[in-house]
């Protein structure tokens, strides 16, 4: 057998062919074919979630102030699903998409996983991981320095809430430290609370007993868009009787408007005029509640003060708001106004509410007063289906704070934001004024150190550029955010709080609900990362500062503090998770008010000096000024709120952004809603790209033609355009706050802006 190259090739071929033929008679090729496909079914990079025992833990959602109960499903202690807690008094099992997305706040790329120290320039995103000792030490050192230099008042703290133990603990810290500048973020609740205070003399959380109302007149409140406790509102809507009517007054066909029995497209910002116009018809046609107005109200008719000066009453004042005139102002048909007024007054339990969208912007006090007056006209105060206020929960009682001389001096300084000053005596916090005050300060910033927790002012404050400028002037910023939000990313130190599912926290009554409900948010899981409860951080800083400050915090940690605060209720709360105090209205006392007149004051005598100078404190309608030159900016831009977009301190979870329609966001570009008629005039077609300019800024948008928006008005959602967080949120659309600015209510100092003039050019 001669083996040359040729035969070698032949023999090799024979060998291979024989091998191939033989292998066909073995399991190898067949099993491998099967196994390769099984490999694709179990790719190592496709996760296999571990199975285990199912348990449930109940807690409270604190992603917004709504305070809905949640039920968390866990597998071997690992949370996998959040749903509404069936028997929670606030939401009765209903939950909004944000609440259901909760686990994406627990894990995910936006979490700050350890204390961080800024390395690069502010906002550059360069951080150094530091130990808790170092981070707390640095903050303590700075605060000690400022105190040593006699400027404790130059420390300000921005928080998301002033209710419950954590905010109170921080407030206590600031008091002991010596700064009056505890600033809570503002919402529409501020204006409503103030209106209730001015008319009823009560400080407290407003109640809108929509449960028992049969006619809900909403002046732009997105009751199905996330207003109030979203879970509660959805539950109410789903379980309401068909006879209940919802009338939605707003310039845009929102989800609420879509579900309302009637939608009235109004000129934005003229809601107050409509309220007075309705009052006009009700009074003119004597449809008002005579018993209430005559026996329990003050200032309805003209009245004479102690000095013998006669003042116009409410009834006389609203004569100026005849349907004809109101129709012109609001753009609503005269007949509609009249019939709405009649329907409202004739309903057995009508209620009027306000606070646009989610209620992010307080709005004008006049408007809130007008709405309160409307409720009073139908006698719908302090009774089922009506409006009232429940006193702030008073369980937070601790030993008096003893403060030293430095602190005492600091506390005597006026607040930087001007709240409570002679100008704004009835307002407690004015965060919206802070950027302007810092920016216009001569010399160094009045705020030398800023502590931020549960708030994201860099994103949520109108006029982002001004806010950033102001923050750049603050030498020392500390964020306690669990997430890398805009404010955290501009901080010098981040001392990350636990995420909401990892921390213990009491949750007081949310606005709206007619019962006092104190819930306990219990940790569902152990902290995943190197985070610390913000209460513990403050206690540790206090202890490190020593002296009177240390003495003000005799508790080992936040839990001990909470335990002592709740005293005998702690055990019940820990066991049940909820303390519910039904807020009953003792009948004879129902119509007693804490005002000077002891009556409901249509004429709010307690109203501040600004109004007094104008001779009348009556809630009249003067157009809320809107920024921008009408010649240059022919359109009006209004921000709107959507339940699928979180516009507040805590931003969208990826799941929520996933639900956002492609008519709102397309790729990274936000869409602007515009009426087709308006768009046609501008030569814009569906999906066209345009340049949107306002006096505050400009941006590129795409347009979405929508018949559900008033011609001449354009709308953009809040909650987009984040610059921080992760790729799942950042750089998507535009933050509408970069295009708007605050308008200060002369009576309250609160922001009452509802929109801004704008210009749209096709590009």
């Amino acid at each position: 057998m001669k083996i040359d190259r040729r035969s070698f090739l032949t023999y090799t071929t024979a060998l291979v062919l024989g091998g191939a033929a033989g292998s066909m008679l073995t399991p190898a090729p067949w099993k491998l074919t099967d196994d390769v496909s099984i490999w694709t079914q179990n790719w190592p990079w496709t996760p296999v979630p571990e199975d285990g025992e199912v348990t449930y833990k109940q807690s409270v959602c604190t992603l917004c102030p709504g305070g809905c109960g949640i039920n968390v499903r866990l597998i071997d202690g690992r949370p996998v699903k959040i749903k509404g807690l069936e028997d929670h008094p606030v939401n009765k099992g209903s939950l909004c998409p944000m609440g259901i997305s909760g686990l994406q706040y627990l894990y995910g790329p936006s979490r700050v996983t350890s204390p961080l120290k800024r390395e690069g320039k502010r906002g550059e995103g360069k951080w150094k991981k530091v130990s808790w000792e170092e981070a707390l030490g640095a903050v303590t050192k700075k605060l000690a320095e400022l105190r040593a230099s006699g400027r404790p008042q130059s420390v300000a703290c921005i928080t998301g809430s002033d209710q419950g133990t954590t905010p109170n603990l921080i407030g206590r810290f600031l008091t002991a430290y010596g700064s009056p500048n505890y600033i809570r973020s503002a919402t529409a609740q501020d204006a409503i609370e103030q209106a209730i205070y001015l008319t009823q003399g009560k400080q407290g959380t407003p109640v809108f007993d929509i449960e028992n109302a049969d006619f809900v007149l909403s002046f732009g409140s997105g009751i199905l868009d996330g207003w109030g406790s979203a879970g509660r509102m959805f539950n109410l809507y789903g379980s309401q009787k068909p006879a209940k009517k919802i009338i939605q007054v707003e310039p845009r066909l929102s989800d609420t408007a879509a579900k309302a029995n009637q939608w009235l497209g109004i000129n934005p910002g003229t809601e107050g005029a409509l309220a007075l116009g309705l009052a006009h018809v009700i009074i003119k046609e004597s449809l008002y509640d005579r018993n209430f107005v005559e026996n329990f109200a003050f200032g309805f008719d003209d009245w004479t003060d102690d000095n013998g000066k006669t003042h116009d009453g409410f009834a006389k004042m609203v004569k100026n708001f005849a349907p004809d005139k109101v129709s012109k102002i609001t753009g609503i048909d005269k007949a509609e106004i009249v019939s709405l007024a009649r329907a409202f007054a004739r309903a057995s339990k009508p209620i009027a509410i306000n606070g646009r969208g989610h209620g992010a912007i307080p709005g004008s006090i006049d408007e809130s007063l007008a709405v309160q007056s409307l409720n009073a006209l139908v006698g719908n105060i302090n009774k089922p289906g009506g409006i009232s206020a429940i006193p702030d929960s008073n369980y937070a009682k601790w030993p008096e704070v003893n403060i030293d001389e430095i602190a005492s001096k600091g506390m005597q300084q006026p607040r930087i934001d001007g709240a409570g000053s002679e100008q704004f005596p009835n307002t407690r916090f004015l965060l919206n004024r802070l950027p302007e005050i810092i920016n216009s300060a001569k010399g160094e910033s009045p705020v030398q150190a800023l502590l931020v927790t549960d708030a994201n002012p860099m994103y949520t404050l109108p006029d982002t550029a001004a806010t950033k400028k102001a923050f750049d002037r603050i030498p020392f910023i500390v964020s306690f955010s669990p997430y890398m939000d805009e404010t955290a990313s501009h901080a010098d130190y981040i001392l990350p709080n636990h995420s909401y599912l990892e921390r213990l926290q009491d949750v007081p009554t949310a606005a709206g609900i007619s019962r006092q409900v104190i819930s306990l948010a219990k940790p569902v899981v152990k902290p995943t990362y190197e985070t610390k409860h913000v209460g513990d951080s403050f206690i540790l800083i206090a202890k490190a500062l020593g002296g009177f400050i240390e003495n003000a915090f005799p508790w080992e940690d936040y839990e001990a503090f909470l335990k002592e605060t709740l005293k005998d209720q702690w055990r019940k709360l820990k066991k049940k998770g909820i303390i519910e105090i039904k807020y009953d209205l003792p009948e004879p006392l129902a119509f007693t008010f804490n005002t000077v007149s002891t009556k409901f004051e249509f004429y709010p005598t307690a109203r501040g000096s600004v109004k007094q100078k104008q001779n009348s404190a009556l809630p009249t309608y003067t157009p809320v000024p809107i920024e921008g030159d009408v010649q240059r900016f022919k359109l009006v831009l209004i921000p709107y709120d959507s339940i699928r977009l979180a516009g507040g301190a805590i931003a969208n979870a990826p799941f929520m952004t996933k639900t956002v329609d492609d008519t709102v966001l397309k790729k990274q570009v936000g869409l602007l809603e515009i009426n087709p008629a308006t768009a046609k005039g501008l030569g814009l077609k569906e999906g066209a790209t345009a340049l949107l300019t306002t006096p505050k800024g400009e941006t590129t948008v795409k347009v979405h033609l929508y018949e559900g928006i008033k011609p001449g008005i354009i709308a953009m959602p809040r909650g987009l355009g984040h610059t921080a967080y992760s790729e799942f949120l950042a750089d998507k659309g535009i933050n509408v706050n970069t295009l708007t600015g605050p308008i200060e209510d002369p009576g309250s100092g609160l922001d009452m802006a509802w929109g801004i003039r704008a210009k749209l050019i096709r590009i």
Partner: protein, 265 residues
């Protein structure tokens, strides 16, 4: 294969109650390990087992009306039970019709990604995994073991949360029961809907809420004229919504169109 105790699980969605909040979608994502990407704005490559459409009556301001329309898999019966548009076309039996529950399955490990079923489904209920799913930063920790995460290259769709049926059956076995209570098996979307617009149950069971609701004069189904015979019913009091749910010639009125196929039991 079908026995007399067979169920026909179905859903009734009250469009008058649906506010378009999207809780059903999010509830579904978190129940079923639905993945997400940085950009989900192309709704044609965004995996949603239930998608809420926003439809309008096409009238000008201020007479515009909006209706939200959540669309899960319709679990079609087809002209005769089991003849769903998608089931018969699958070349590899990766999807089948369960005669015991009426639910159309989708088996990700069997599917080889030909997408014929997607072409067959007029509701666009079927979604393809164009990408490998990625759960960033520790997010894999929240995945549920009850629903198998899908890999790239396969089709997925709403299963009426069949795993919940499986788990409920487990409990029933333990307690030596044959039947499930109505509340023992509910889909995640029905559970998540904060206004209670979604009702779920056995369409054949007189004691289940869906049985009564589906016979309401407000009830209709989507694209009934195609004879897909869906098991998802909708309720609306608005005639334009009903009309948008199917195709009609200019002179036709929805309520007057008789279907060639009547729902069967």
């Amino acid at each position: 294969m079908k026995d007399k105790n067979a169920k026909r699980y179905g859903m009734v969605i009250d469009l008058d109650k649906c506010t378009g909040c999207g809780s059903c979608m999010v509830g579904c994502y978190s129940e079923n390990n639905v993945p997400f990407k940085a950009d989900e704005t192309n709704k044609l490559d965004s995996i949603n087992w239930i998608r809420v459409y926003k439809i309008t009556n096409n009238k000008t301001y201020p007479n515009t009306e909006v209706c939200y329309l959540p669309m899960p898999c319709m679990q079609c019966d087809g002209a005769h039970e089991g003849h769903s548009p998608c089931v018969s076309v699958c070349p590899a039996v990766a999807t089948d019709y369960d005669y015991d529950t009426g639910i159309v399955s989708q088996i990700y490990t069997r599917c080889f990604g030909c997408r014929y079923c997607m072409a067959a489904c007029p509701y666009h209920a079927r979604k393809f995994n164009w990408w490998d799913p990625v759960w960033p930063a520790d997010m894999e920790k929240y995945l549920s073991p009850n629903v198998s995460p899908r890999m790239r290259g396969v089709v997925e769709k709403c299963s009426f949360c069949f795993h919940r049926y499986q788990l409920a059956r487990d409990k029933a076995y333990l307690e030596k029961r044959e039947e499930l209570e109505e509340n023992e098996y509910q889909t995640a979307c029905a559970e998540a809907c904060p206004t209670g617009a979604i009702t779920f149950g056995d369409l054949n069971n007189k004691h289940h809420a869906v049985y009564k609701l589906k016979n309401s004069p407000r009830a209709f189904r989507l694209l009934e004229r195609l004879n897909t015979n869906p098991k998802v019913y909708y309720l609306t009091s608005k005639s334009w919504v009903r009309k948008a749910g199917d195709n009609y010639l200019a002179h036709e009125e929805p309520t007057k169109i008789k279907n060639n196929i009547k729902e069967h039991h």
